[in-house]
Symmetry: C2
Amino acid sequence: MFSKSCEYGIKATLFIAQKSQWGERVSLKEIAAAIDSPIAFTAKILQVLAKASIVNSTKGLHGGYEIEKECLPKISLKQIVQAIDGNRIFDGCALGLKICNAKEPCPMHSQFVIIRNKLSETLASSNLLNVAMNLNLGLTVLKR
Amino acid sequence: MFSKSCEYGIKATLFIAQKSQWGERVSLKEIAAAIDSPIAFTAKILQVLAKASIVNSTKGLHGGYEIEKECLPKISLKQIVQAIDGNRIFDGCALGLKICNAKEPCPMHSQFVIIRNKLSETLASSNLLNVAMNLNLGLTVLKR
DNA sequence: GTAAAATCGGATAAAAAGGTCTTTATATCT
DNA sequence: AGATATAAAGACCTTTTTATCCGATTTTAC
Ligand code: FES
Ligand code: FES
């Protein structure tokens, strides 16, 4: 479904979001430990996220990653996925035709668009604040 | 969503199904041409499909691939996906946790299972006969 | 100035995708 | 029956993409 980069990207962002609720800033090492991801690889993904201005990064001593508290309710999971994996998941053909086109559809098109749209809506209507709250309630986890 | 192998596998099976309606048997070369796929790679996928007894293969002169007409309504797209990509799509965690578990769910679990199940149902409730009929009506295409 | 932290450029490893050649099975034609 | 052409099966190799790692550089607080 998602690439490994995207999985790590989502988990990293959620962890940052959780800590950012209390105004805490977290380091790369903390993130990698919290989500159980390869540290150097995670760094690259965070760069992408930073360039897409989904997270803020600060260099130097006491640096790290954070998200402004006011932004938390405005950032959706869909934005993260788009920043990392692009939107082929949201508009690509299920059977790999160069472009999905309802005028000359592949045999899965009519049923696939329903699922694709459902996925898109679900991700678009989620926001970091809600997801982070479930995290610190212990209702969900980022690693096991 | 699906691997390239799976995409080719589905398209190949659908093409074979279409021809098998009229009792025709098709060769590897015909299949690869019809679905616009790399010929040798397609051969490998067809071997998997043959071993899963989703298609029948016959060696030698006038050999090729076919599906018994009576089987067409009994084979679902889900079977094809499972034979090639396994069922990680149907039971795997969206965020890459080793196993998806509702007791200790990842933050996407509750929303993701809905989509996953919808996909599973959709694929399970489709059968080759229906899909093949749309193909020969020209309502859908396998390449462009 | 020094230590801590992210950035950057590239190197390496692993997996997915695709290709080549040989072998085996099968129908048809001597 | 035997030779031959055809078509899939099987073993192995190459390329491409994805995933992961390393070292040098820059930025910042103390
Ligand atoms: S054409 Fe294949 S999903 Fe739309
Ligand atoms: S635990 Fe992640 S989808 Fe179920």
